[in-house]
Amino acid sequence: MNFEIISPTTTDELLVAIEKCQNRHFRFGAGCTDLLMELKKNPADDLTVINLAQVVDDRLTNLTKTSKLYRLGSMFTAGRIVVNDELKTHFPVLHESAHNLASTQIRQVATVGGNLCTASPSGDIACALVALGARCEMLNTNGKSRSVAVTDFFTGPRKTVLKSNEVLYGISVPLNNKETAKIYSRFIKIGTRRSMECSVVSLACHIQTDAKGVILAAGVAIGASAPTIRLAKDACSSLIGKTFKKITRKEKEEFAATVLSYASPITDIRATAWYRKEVLFNISKSIFE
């Protein structure tokens, strides 16, 4: 494997580097935990890697908060999510998804941006971000930015809406509802081992209730169950207005069946489609137990 590396140190340099690479075969490298594996599998000799790790730019690497949202730079690492108390308090699903990713070592370099841009159906942080209704902010070589909902960011396995002259700049997560009194927010990851595991099935849920326990907002996303991570929209909306604690067994099962309707899993060496469906149904129910 032989490739050239460009290591810009400012965002301007980064944009220039992207511009320069427009007629070349190039890839971004963030934590490189996915990239290296991929290059090992499909070595390319004429490749340029634009290394994002040396760019000094708060908006690329840090966490900021406004009155409406939290914004994570795309280079924010899983490890930093894990140790951030604010994120843990407001978005347990995000915390758990990062905490269950790979291993302590890998989490120190693996980035949110990398998790999204890899566009793996089993991306854990990406799955949590879909449930949270997050948006991706992309910057192009003209310095212009645009944003799309994470749900719409993925167009297929390993495919995103990113254009060749764009880089993922940041991800914004809307603050919880003002009236929210309690959140039921979890990331459920199914696999054989407790670490170094890729989700066989995953389910991210972020449900907000008012003081009486009435559901105000709900985000439920499923991973490793379809060509892309999917937001189970109808399942989410079916919950609005219901009292979380009073959801009946029948409602639970209907909810689980609705979630399942978003799944079209495959059989591979890690699990059969039968297993993935069975488990997805069960864990969907388990949210209310």
Binding site: I190, T192, R193, S195, I269, Y275, E278, V279, N282, E289
Partner: protein
């Protein structure tokens, strides 16, 4: 008189822990010799194919390529336990590992590039990937080198054993249970990938090998046979070894290939496997189908066991084919049983071949046996602990197979784990209906004092004390990470009264060290320990008489402590180094050196596989609690209680390491590890999909050593290395079945299999 032990029994860290932890250890991967070339191997693209031609001309033209060999370029013998394995394959490929050509080049990258330039013309044929199919008349002959000894062309090896009156015991049985068990392929997944550096000197025709073999002297012989040279012209040096677990018992083709490349080029050559290659081309635990029928009388005594085993041998025969030696021991002699009839055969297929793996067939046997014991107890309405205690082995017992249990901690091990795990009062439910808890018991029997499967199961030691009072132990045995160097040094420290830091262990060079059969069968501390103690005895005789002379006393009865010899009677003392100097530099001008060869009292088994094959036997029991998630099928192992008859604890720290490491291998075997194959190809040759468990999956392990003080063992110790892994999968399976009220007949018990079993149960109910 029982001497108080000062060093033995202490938790002394592994002597090489510092170099290992600091990265200073020199593994085979770190070796660089002047002028060294890098070797790489071209393997077949198809597990079963006719090789019509191999064209290496383009590869040879690549700058930096020094040598390319195929079967046509070498004059060698087949390798393997049955000599049915060509080093380089000619004419046909019989399994996905098959080596077709090898390259030596100036760099690794060039060597790899050269492989791509070799053109092979294949005629793909239908392979046989199922052992039962291979036994059918219509199946082709898979291995062309077999002797035709057996009734079917695809039988590689057969074992038959029996004792007692089977028919009578069947008649006497109140209940009889028959089950078929299926055991998977598991791989060692050593941290260090396979490696070798060969350096042939074409002036004196001597071959130097840096190899991580577990059995250097057998290896030297096998290598010599393969290459048609003299064994003594081969010098084997072992660098630090990053994991053995049995995988390095066989010599594998890449090793003579590396030697051949060096012989052809006259330059040193190194071959190092990539991780993927390691998964594909290093050995595995033998997969097998075990049909077990067993009976019990009305009081719960075991009556008989009837066993038929079909082992998937793969395309070539390795030591793995001989695992029935050990398997039959468990069936014939674990718990008392009146009659046993055992049949096992290894059948050629186009799958990858197995090798030896910690436990040597015993985890497979123990899984089947202990599962059936649970079922027999259920049939009888007897409790599962009670039936085991009733039938447990005892001290003084001579089993149907002729194993002599001079010491036996079987019952004590069972009692210990039953009590400590609160077996009779364990929780049956988890935090809600979704989670089910269960507990399972299993025990095991394994050789604990070597295993006489070769003409000698012995080990030699040469012991030297230098004029500065330092001691060098030159031992035939070797270190593969298990800590034998440390234990040997501790024995010398104990006996000679010198500090550990003054003791060196030399064990890596066949030109220097005396014979030993190798690291296997949990034998090293036992056999090498006894050998060392013998050498110490001899050396002390010399030192004692010199010291007595120097002190002018008659009585040569000395104690050794604080680097001194202390007279037992008068209390007079003299420094050890001084005695050695006086021995060397004045009359009788003799070296402070002694050599000893220890051969265990064990016997070679007769043709019927009867006889006392080991110096002593180890026993263990485990009680394991699990919680099963009925939503996902995940099995969480909560607590593992393990009691093991170790004879005597030589070093609790190292013993604990063996127990924990072994158990985690056992948990992996039970729940997650399987090399998946489809039509002869390995589907998961990586850590991503080969599910080896991690530190975060480790349950609580509660270990209770049981000391039975075997008179044969050094300080009473028995072998411990393999035992901890052996009953683990069986106990976990029993616990899962206990939790869910269903049967698991197959390992590993993956979440999917659990959920499927629950689903089937639900459907049956409806």
């Amino acid at each position: 008189m029982k001497k108080e032990l000062k060093v033995i029994g202490q938790p002394i860290p592994k002597q090489d822990a510092n170099i290992r932890a600091s990265g200073k250890a020199i593994y085979g991967h770190d070796i660089v010799l002047p002028g060294m070339l890098y070797g790489a191997i071209l393997r077949t693209e198809h597990p079963s194919a006719i090789i019509e031609s191999i064209d290496v001309s383009e590869a040879l033209k690549l700058p930096g390529v020094v040598c390319v060999i195929t079967a046509d370029d070498v004059d060698v013998n087949n390798i393997g336990y049955k000599r049915d394995h060509p080093i380089l394959k000619k004419g046909e490929a019989c399994c996905t590992r098959d080596e077709l050509a090898a390259v030596a080049a100036e760099t690794k990258a060039i060597a790899r590039q050269a492989l791509k330039l070799i053109k092979v013309k294949y005629k793909v044929r239908k392979g046989v990937y199922d052992a039962f199919e291979a036994l059918e008349d219509s199946a082709p002959q898979i291995n062309q080198f077999i002797t035709g000894k057996f009734e079917n062309k695809n039988i590689a090896e057969k074992f038959q054993y029996g004792h007692g009156n089977l028919e009578e015991e069947k008649k006497r049985s109140r209940h009889i249970i028959s089950r078929r068990f299926t055991l998977p392929r598991m791989t060692h997944a050593c941290m260090a990938t396979s490696n070798i550096t060969a350096s042939y000197n074409n002036l004196d025709k001597k071959l130097l090998l840096y190899s991580s073999t577990q059995v250097p002297f057998l290896y030297q012989r096998d290598m010599a046979h393969a290459l048609k040279i003299n064994p003594s012209d081969i010098r084997v040096i072992q660098p630090v070894i990053g994991g053995g677990f049995g995988s390095k018992l066989d010599m594998h083709p890449f090793e003579p290939i590396c030697a051949l490349l060096s012989m052809k080029t006259g330059r040193p050559v190194q071959i190092i496997y990539s991780r993927e290659e390691e998964f594909i081309a290093s050995p595995i635990r033998q997969p097998m189908i075990i049909d077990l029928t067993a009976g019990v009388d009305k009081d719960g005594h075991f009556t008989f066991r009837e066993i038929n085993i079909i082992k998937d041998n793969g395309a070539y025969t390795s030591w793995g084919a001989t695992t029935p030696f050990v398997i039959m021991q468990s069936f014939s002699s674990l718990y008392k049983v009146k009659a046993c009839s055992f049949n096992a055969m290894a059948v050629y297929t186009n799958n990858v071949f197995a090798g030896s793996f910690r436990g040597y067939g015993n985890p497979q046997a123990t899984f089947a046996l202990e599962r059936v014991i649970d079922l027999l107890a259920d049939e009888l309405g007897m409790d599962k602990a009670g039936i085991r205690l009733l039938n447990a082995n005892e001290k003084g017992e001579i089993t149907g197979q002729g194993l002599h249990y001079d010491t036996c901690g079987h019952k004590e091990c069972l009692e210990t784990v039953i009590e400590k795990s609160n077996y009779f009062n364990h929780k049956t439910s988890g935090k809600n209906d979704r989670y089910k808890r269960g507990i399972g018991l299993a025990s095991m029997l394994h050789v604990g004092g070597g295993a006489k499967i070769y003409r000698s199961d012995g080990c030699g030691t040469t012991l030297k004390i230098d004029p500065y009072g330092y001691c060098t132990i030159i031992t035939g045995s070797n270190e593969i990470g298990q800590g034998s160097e440390t234990v040997l040094a501790m024995m010398a420290a104990e006996e000679l009264g010198i500090e550990l830091k003054k003791i060196k262990v030399i064990n890596t060079d066949t030109d220097v060290k005396p014979w030993d059969v190798g690291v296997h069968a949990s034998r090293t501390s036992f056999v090498a320990g006894n050998s060392l103690l013998g050498a110490i005895r001899l050396l002390k005789e010399k030192l004692n008489s010199k010291a007595a002379q120097l002190l002018n006393i008659k009585d040569a009865d000395f104690e050794y402590a604080d680097n001194k010899l202390i007279s037992g009677k008068s209390g007079e003392r003299i420094a050890l180094d001084k005695v050695v100097r006086e021995m060397h530099f004045s009359e009788p001008n003799e070296l402070a050196i002694a050599s000893f060869f220890y051969e265990p009292s064990s016997k070679f088994q007769d043709k019927e596989f009867k006889g006392n094959v080991s110096g002593t036997y180890a026993f263990a029991a485990q009680s394991i609690e699990v919680e099963v998630d009925t939503y996902t099928g995940n099995v969480q192992v909560l607590d593992i209680y393990v009691a093991q008859d170790v004879g005597k604890v030589l070093n609790p720290l190292l013993l604990g390491g063996q127990i924990e490491g072994g158990i985690m291998q056992g948990v992996g075997y039970a729940l997650s590890e399987e090399l998946l194959m489809h039509e002869g190809r390995i589907l998961n040759p990586n850590f991503h999909n080969y599910k080896m468990l991690t530190a975060s999956d480790t349950p609580e392990i509660h270990f209770y050593p049981v000391e039975t003080h075997d008179k044969e063992g050094p300080y009473g110790a028995k072998g411990v290395g393999e035992a901890p892994l052996i009953p683990t999968a069986a106990a976990i399976a029993n616990a899962v079945c206990n939790a869910l009220g269903l049967e698991m007949l197959e390992l590993p018990i993956t979440p999917e299999k659990v959920l499927k079993a629950l689903d089937d149960k639900k459907k049956r109910k409806k």
